[in-house]
Subunit: 121 residues, 2 copies
DNA sequence: TTGACAGGTGACCATGAGGTCACATATTGT
DNA sequence: ACAATATGTGACCTCATGGTCACCTGTCAA
């Protein structure tokens, strides 16, 4: 009974969409492109991804919209795409916190030190 | 050239595995089961997922292991599975921070207030 | 050693996701 | 009105994925 608002998806169903949307490298690249320059049109995004046709890009954008990771605004015949960080933040709040927060802080720090030393045993 | 250590996967390639591993609800459920009780055997995990055969569970576990989200230890003929939060933490560090941190804090708080009021207008 | 238990391997099938295209629909400038 | 631009739709193909199974390997205990 909630969830008409931007990223307020209904519990796990929405999480699933977000996870699945993020699971594809191309889609992450698209998000990245929007991170570099927000509000780009389909065409602009196509030009940044010559490895794929317009239709491919459109499908991916549809998935991202469906997950509310991207939000659109029409201006005449162009469709501008904007990053919406809310779902990612929610993922972090609901998920990452749960698993990672308790243990890991110290471990990742340790790992970084190990990685930068790189050759011990 | 790095990455022999637990979660120290090679940049985006590892991120991809983690994302893809997390993209499946069953696998998230498995992680959840390990969160409830760490160190479970394949059998134990199968009993918690009667909707699937042992082989299904094993395949999912393999994916999780591949993403270093689960780490194993053999004890005789049983294989114990342990949660490894490092990759999740790294995802948070590399990814979520990048997109979500700048904008969102205030927005999610706003949303929570909106969601709890729920009927304004 | 024998049998029961815990796990692993390769093949197999069905579905869905990524990707492309031929066509259809706005919208804009002239 | 007309053509060019910008996006949308449905069908289609292919391949990776989730899921199952028959069979093999290793381990424990009697």
């Amino acid at each position: 009974m909630r969830s008409h608002i931007v990223g307020a998806v209904d519990e796990s169903a929405g999480d699933d969409r977000v996870f699945k949307a993020l699971a594809d490298p191309t889609r992450r690249a698209l998000l990245d492109a929007l991170f570099v320059a927000d509000g780009q049109s389909v065409q602009a995004l196509c030009e940044r991804h010559p490895e794929m046709t317009r239709f491919g890009v459109m499908k991916h954008l549809a998935v991202l919209e469906d997950a509310h990771l991207v939000v659109v605004r029409r201006e005449g015949r162009v469709k501008r795409h904007f990053l919406n960080p809310v779902p990612i933040q929610q993922l972090s709040d609901r998920w990452i916190d749960k698993y990672a927060r308790p243990f890991t802080r110290a471990m990742t720090d340790l790992q970084r030190r190990l990685e930068s030393r790189e050759g011990s045993s």
